[in-house]
């Protein structure tokens, strides 16, 4: 199954995209748990684009072949490599904890590969997940 979507880089559009994906659960042939993880990964990555990159649009390409899912996200924002975000210290005491970096930390836990490249003035993030 292949799917291409384009949204404006806004929170509302991102929410709409997540709902659209959840409606495709049957076609994606994934469990509730896997669906949760896929939507979470997408939300975190797009939220980063909105927060850091200032991009106007995000294109999302989904490709599911057998058990392998590949998602490519392409945005026209300023250069921003989410794979280089410093990991949070999840063992730090409460007073030292901050929420920064948690989203990308979750992404890394829920995907099998996570790569970034800058091409034609666009950020291109590719994640893969075997289900």
């Amino acid at each position: 199954m292949k799917l291409k979507l384009k949204i404006e880089a806004t929170a509302d559009q991102m929410t709409l995209l997540c709902a659209t994906l959840e409606n495709l659960q049957k076609s994606l042939k994934c469990t509730d748990r896997q669906m949760f993880e896929i939507v979470l990964v997408l939300e975190e990555l797009i939220a980063n684009v909105i927060r850091h990159g200032g991009g106007r649009t995000v294109e999302i390409e989904l490709d599911k072949e057998g058990r392998d899912l590949q998602m490519i996200m392409c945005d026209d924002g300023a250069p921003f490599d989410p794979t280089s975000v410093a990991p949070p210290d999840t063992t730090a005491p409460l007073q030292e904890r901050c929420a920064g970096g948690l989203g990308i930390h979750l992404v890394k836990r829920y995907v099998d590969s996570f790569t970034y490249r800058r091409e034609n003035d666009k950020n291109i993030v590719t994640v893969t997940k075997t289900m």
Binding site: A11, D12, M14, T15, C18, R33, F36, E37, V39, L40, E43, E44, A47, I50, P88, T90, T91, A92, P93, L94, Q95, R97, C98, A99, L102, G103, H105, L106, R109
Partner: protein, 112 residues
Amino acid sequence: MEYTVMKEKNTNVVKIAGRLDSTTSPDFEQGLVEYLDPPAGNLLLDFNDLDYISSAGLRVVLNAAKRFRESTWKFAACNMQDHVQEVFEISGFDNFIHIYNSVKSFMKDIEN
């Protein structure tokens, strides 16, 4: 996202349903303010009907936990679905937020 608040003795039980994501978390954070500023009783988040949480939701929970750090009142969560609890554990939030199995077990714990 919707939430209801039930007061039980000295505890405000906030039961949240639906999604805590980038869009809904600011509203939830706003709704929690009156129980945090400053804490005037225990605060228990009942996650039984919470289906989804992202880092935006975790941020709200972290900020709430911090407000209780120097308070004598307790802050805790309960009734988490497995995938929500996993997000808490991956983030290390279980190090500073006690996760109870039920509202009842929290109530029993604070009575002792």
